[in-house]
């Protein structure tokens, strides 16, 4: 207060300060006789305690403004890229941003993104009570109002179905073989997804309770009445094997079918040509595999995919491999053989191979050495003194 008062006085005097020095003398007389006490304040007091405020709260106007800016920006971007602003999709936006702002960062989440504000700003609940402080929702004082209201609705639906069942029984049309909801190929929402849906935190037990109630709903014969409500809480699962890239079968001048595939493991790269010639010869880097891999374990790795599919003596393998050690080279070759085999094998077999782990690239690599330690995990010898 005093400081601002002084500042205010000083600013007025500055205007008159050009009049002369005489006024300076009179400054002390004309100045307000306020007790001027110097309060020494450090800048740390002016800083806000950020942790106590909690997560950032965005007002609805703020979000709306962001949405407008996003739309305008999208149109600008479309113009920049020379495309039609009306039919500019999110994929196009991503592509353009990646083109205009190329980034070498490894983490995809650290690269520049331009998405709709709804996807960027976390969903927040609006104010739950009116001007007088009365909550809108009747379950507000449970603390998790959306969760309990969901349970409440679910139970309502269960009761409705039971009433429907009773009606059918009265009419004499009660049957158990009604249309059932198709649940294969989909899974329940995960706990994180459920939290996102309800915009509030729920515990593990709450989640289990919800799923149990859903299952109870599904166990009743006439549950197809609430099909679309239930399907809102299911996610569709893709069939993983459709994602596999199967190498193309090519044909030799002699008419022998062969396929080429690559594999990698831990910095060893392998490339394989699998020929359908009817003998079981294996040549690696020009040498017989018995000489290249004297260790039995490596040869067993080569054996595994062929043995799994059951075509041991049928294929000829010609491979080249480089890098890393013998075990990693064997692993790389194994992956390459499995990939090459995909083209000779039916879809059911492909799925079986995927489940056996033959088609998954081993993601393990050498862990980085950290400073202050001798290796990745090993610490220096601890000396007491």
């Amino acid at each position: 207060m005093a400081a601002s008062g002084c500042r205010g006085v000083r600013s007025i005097l500055w205007k008159y300060g050009s009049c002369g020095k005489s006024l300076c003398v009179s400054r002390s007389k004309t100045a307000l006789q306020l007790p001027v006490r110097q309060i020494c304040v450090s800048s740390s007091l002016w800083k806000k305690n950020l942790a106590a405020a909690g997560p950032e709260k965005f007002t609805q106007e703020f979000i709306n403004k962001q949405v407008e800016e996003f739309e305008v920006g999208k149109r600008h971007l479309a113009n920049m890229m020379g495309e039609d602003p009306e039919t500019f999709t999110q994929e196009d936006i991503d592509r353009s941003i990646a083109y205009l702002f190329p980034s070498g960062l490894f983490d995809k989440r650290a690269r520049p993104i331009m998405k709709h504000p709804e996807q960027i700003f976390p969903k927040q609940t609006a104010v739950q009570w009116d001007a007088e402080g009365r909550p809108f929702h009747f379950l507000f004082y449970t603390g998790k109002q959306s969760y309990y209201s969901l349970l409440h609705d679910l139970y309502e639906k269960i009761l409705a179905i039971e009433r429907h069942q009773a009606e059918m029984r009265n009419k004499g049309l009660y049957t158990t073989d009604t249309k059932q909801i198709v649940l294969t190929g989909s899974r329940w929402l995960l706990k994180e997804e459920m939290e996102e849906h309800l915009v509030e935190n729920i515990s593990d037990q709450d989640y289990m309770r919800l799923i149990q109630l859903m299952e109870r709903l599904l166990s009743m014969p006439y549950c197809s009445l609430e099909e679309e409500f239930v399907l809102k809480f299911r996610r569709h699962l893709e069939v993983q094997s459709r994602k596999q890239e199967i190498p193309v079968i090519q044909y030799d001048p002699q008419g022998v079918a062969f396929s080429v595939a690559d594999g990698r493991r831990k910095s060893a790269k392998a490339s394989i040509t699998l020929r359908d010639s009817g003998s079981g010869n294996v040549t690696i880097n020009g040498k017989n595999y018995l000489h290249y891999f004297p260790v039995l374990q490596d040869r067993e790795q080569l054996l595994f995919p062929l043995h799994f599919v059951g075509t041991l003596g049928r294929f000829d393998i010609e491979g080249s491999v480089e890098g890393s050690g013998h075990s990693a080279q064997a692993g790389a070759l194994r992956l390459a053989i499995s990939r090459a085999l995909l083209s000779f094998v039916s879809e059911v077999e492909v799925e079986k191979m995927r489940q056996a782990g033959l088609l998954t690239a081993d993601p393990r690599i050498k862990e980085r050495k950290k400073p202050g330690q001798e290796g990745a995990r090993r610490k220096f010898t601890w000396k007491k003194r």
Binding site: V282, H291, R299, H307, L312
Partner: protein, 401 residues
């Protein structure tokens, strides 16, 4: 029914516990035989065994089949000659069965047809590690033994160029070195193998020390005993024995004095390679400076007649040679190749389909393959893949199945 009884009669060594499996097993094999060839001899009870025990009568018909060496022959002929793993197998299975394979048959056929008044032919068996060179050599030696030859078998020449504890300067020549332990060991084994030739007459007079000498006309046995008892001069005795045999081999063409000499050296590339032995002043020893090696090299020259020189290369015990080397010129080196030329190379490959089949059946028959999966077709294919039909790898693989 009869066939079952025949099977049980001819396999008295099988214990009661396994008999049931055995008879069933042989029943299956019988069906296989009946299905396969109708021209098989009635005495052939199984596909992989032959009853022809005499190596002289082995022919292409018996390729891939196992024949048994009588235990007496094993004790006499191979006191030190068989590879160690094979010795273990003989002990486990209670019988010494060797497979008849084309390289051995080739060698035996050459031995049958050669004219023994000419200088001896040198045969070199070469091939991949573990493909059966030593056993083929042993098979050929068994043939020589049954024909009554004098066997001079050095089981592994590599043992003479490495790991020698005592290296004495030679008593007779100043720049040479003796290996008394190895020499006396070898002389003992030589005595066991060739007992009936020990009463041969010898020609020259040898002086060992100021007080000891062997006079003219003494039997060979005394010379050998001299070497066994007096360790100091054993290497020189070895040299003397070799020289005597060389001179006498082609000497008398008929009568009691006639004998044919079979010189069999396994790991012949050791003679011209390097040694790991050091002299007292810490410099490396050359193979030339070792008495035993020097005498053996003289043996390898074909300036005598009335015998044959059978050799086999070996990478496993060799010194300073890469693991992938298996051809004669790689393993022998320039010097060795020049010395051994001209020679008859005999290649020893891995098992063929038929041979693999027969080895597999043999192990099954001996109940060596305990794992139930190994009896199936799938298991057999796995074995083929994992061993690539290499005999030693297959043997090691089956050892823990």
């Amino acid at each position: 029914m009869n066939l079952h009884k025949l099977a049980s009669r001819l396999r008295p060594t099988v214990t009661q516990k396994f008999r049931h499996f055995h008879i069933q097993g042989s029943g299956q094999q019988l069906e296989a035989v009946v299905g396969e060839t109708s021209s098989a001899e009635p005495s052939l009870l199984s596909v992989f065994r032959t009853s022809e025990q005499d190596p002289a009568c082995h022919s292409e018909r018996h390729t891939g089949q196992y024949y048994t060496i009588p235990p007496a022959h094993i004790q006499k002929l191979f006191p030190h000659g068989l590879p160690p793993r094979f010795q273990l197998q003989v002990k486990t299975f209670n019988e010494g069965c060797v497979m008849v394979r084309p390289p051995a048959l080739e060698l035996i056929s050459y031995l049958k047809r050669v004219d023994y008044s000419k200088p001896p032919l040198r045969y070199i068996l070469y091939g991949d590690t573990g493909s059966g060179k030593t056993l083929s050599l042993c098979h050929a030696l068994h043939y020589c033994y049954t024909q009554g030859w004098l066997i001079l078998h050095i089981p592994d020449a590599h043992l003479w160029v490495k790991n020698c504890k005592e290296l004495l300067p030679s008593s007779s020549r100043p720049s040479r070195f003796d290996q008394p332990i190895q020499a006396s060991q070898w002389l003992k084994n030589f005595k066991i193998t060739n007992e009936r030739f020990l009463s041969k007459v010898q020609l020259d007079r040898y002086v060992w020390t100021k007080r000891e000498s062997t006079e003219e006309g003494r039997p060979l046995g005394e010379l050998v005993d001299q070497g066994v008892n007096r360790m100091k001069s054993s290497s020189d005795v070895v040299g003397a024995v070799l020289r005597e045999l060389r001179l006498q081999a082609g000497g008398a063409t008929d009568g009691e004095g006639a004998f044919k000499l079979a010189v069999a050296v396994d790991g012949v590339n050791a003679l011209w390679g390097k040694t790991t032995l050091k002299k007292e002043d810490k410099t490396m020893c050359e193979p030339e400076e070792l008495t035993l090696i020097h005498n053996l090299r003289k043996m390898m020259k074909n300036d005598w007649s009335g015998g044959a020189i059978l050799t086999a290369l070996s990478q496993t015990g060799s010194l300073f040679k890469p693991r992938s080397a298996y051809l004669p010129n790689e393993l022998l080196g320039e010097e060795g190749f020049d010395n051994m030329e001209p020679f008859v190379p005999v290649s020893v490959p891995n098992y063929s389909e038929k041979e693999f089949e027969s080895c597999y059946l043999y192990y099954l028959d001996r109940n060596w393959l305990q794992h139930p999966h190994s009896r199936s077709e799938e298991g057999k294919k796995e074995l083929i893949f994992l061993s690539n039909k290499n005999p030693s790898i297959l043997e090691r693989l089956c050892a823990f199945l």
